[in-house]
Symmetry: D2
Subunit: 147 residues, 4 copies
């Protein structure tokens, strides 16, 4: 969807988030942002693990939601009044502690709704992130106005 332009680049989104949502600072990093894709990286915390070292489901849901939000901010800019209107997640493989990647792809920038498809996975030197074998796949929709 290369015919769409970003209103905020990665640095612009980082600066905006520091202003309006400072408590998220450090929870994850924006690795890259284009008009078609936002990529976030996160180091899991001990509190986000379940017995056995599995990353908790809500941790994955929060990261997917954040990746979609970063993409929405890039597309709609600082004034964005956008809230998650729905989210669907399928848990597919066991995520382990360490580095997680979330890639949010734009599938529709509509007048009232923005729809993204997000894939999550671990990333390590031995086993780099592989979009075709995600630990979870998400459809996240943001509403541009209050529903």
């Amino acid at each position: 969807m290369s015919d769409i332009e970003l209103l905020l680049d990665a640095d612009g989104v980082r600066a905006y988030l520091l202003e309006v949502w400072p408590q998220v600072n450090g929870a994850w990093q924006i690795e890259s942002l284009s008009s078609g894709m936002a990529r976030l990286r996160k180091q899991t915390l001990p509190s986000e693990l379940r017995p056995g070292g599995t990353v908790s489901g809500p941790t994955l849901m929060a990261l997917a939601d954040s990746a979609a939000y970063v993409l929405v901010l890039g597309l709609l800019g600082r004034a964005a009044l956008a809230v998650t209107s729905s989210l669907h997640i399928d848990f597919l493989r066991r995520p382990v502690e360490g580095e997680l990647i979330a890639e949010a792809e734009l599938v529709k920038l509509g007048r009232s709704l923005v729809t993204t498809s997000v894939r999550l996975g671990n990333d390590s030197p031995a086993k780099p992130f592989d979009r075709t074998k995600p630990v979870a796949i998400v459809s996240a929709t943001y509403s541009r106005a209050l529903v």
Copy 2:
């Protein structure tokens, strides 16, 4: 679905969670548990709010997932090897800080999947929890074996 019996009652689930998942202690309380419904109560934390006092989406998703998990533990018992396999949430109304309720209703106890329908809402003396006007509605499915 009154023909199904609980293997663990509310006290049994509380004791089990203290053993295997102590970090969740205090995040929410089990108000009631039957074979057809689990009801959780939660006091929102400052870290769970967004600017303006809205409760964050991941906070609602985590509470819904927990309510479904409590129901699954009650039905399947201590030995339960159950993981969330999918979750769908529609965000409907603006949740505010304070007390939240999550009611997880059993819709199918299958041999491989357990499906629940969860409704979330605020609860206050002035405006008690109303199942017909939820802030969010969730379908959460647990897998009884590793997928």
Copy 3:
């Protein structure tokens, strides 16, 4: 949600559908319609069955979508420009040929989105429709404007 009034009652919706969507005539009947719930009844057709007598998934999805649409028409009236924006279905039990019921409950009438929760099941003299043991449960969202 008794504080909402219908703009069209069941007869009004039937008349409107005969005008704008005549090919659906006879596929199902509106049993009842209130501002909180639409109930449809359908007799399965041989072409809607799979080997073994199971009702096909798309047949259930279509019936759920129709039940939500009837509720939306009742609430928004004849001029309604409303399209399905998302639908989530969990298939729970094996539906058999014969009579099917779909009950669509209103969970949110928003300014841009209308969200419904639909339960489907068989209905027969020997085994009447039971909302607590549905063959499928659906979340269907309509958009009041083109997305």
Copy 4:
């Protein structure tokens, strides 16, 4: 997911479907089938259109479900006892009469569940199918055993 082998190729699935589900014959064609992707093509019928020439939602849901089923049959073979366990669809753009494409991508072949991601769109000489601008995006999960 190139490390997975097909048990049935496109011709094998076509032959199997003629045996067990002859009424689907002609509703769509299998264009290609690999272990990672099934691609179906369909010509819309007048009965599948809504006023204005839009393709009905259930038509898209049925085509997505079929594409996922063809992929599942290819992976699991003739003896496959597989039923749709859940389906989530986001309707994104207005589909028009003519040729439709559905591409079902394998995201997880699990022991009990098979998860696919399906994209649907129109295809015409003037405007070929574009996976990045789908008319709808679907997550469809099949259960390998009765749920």
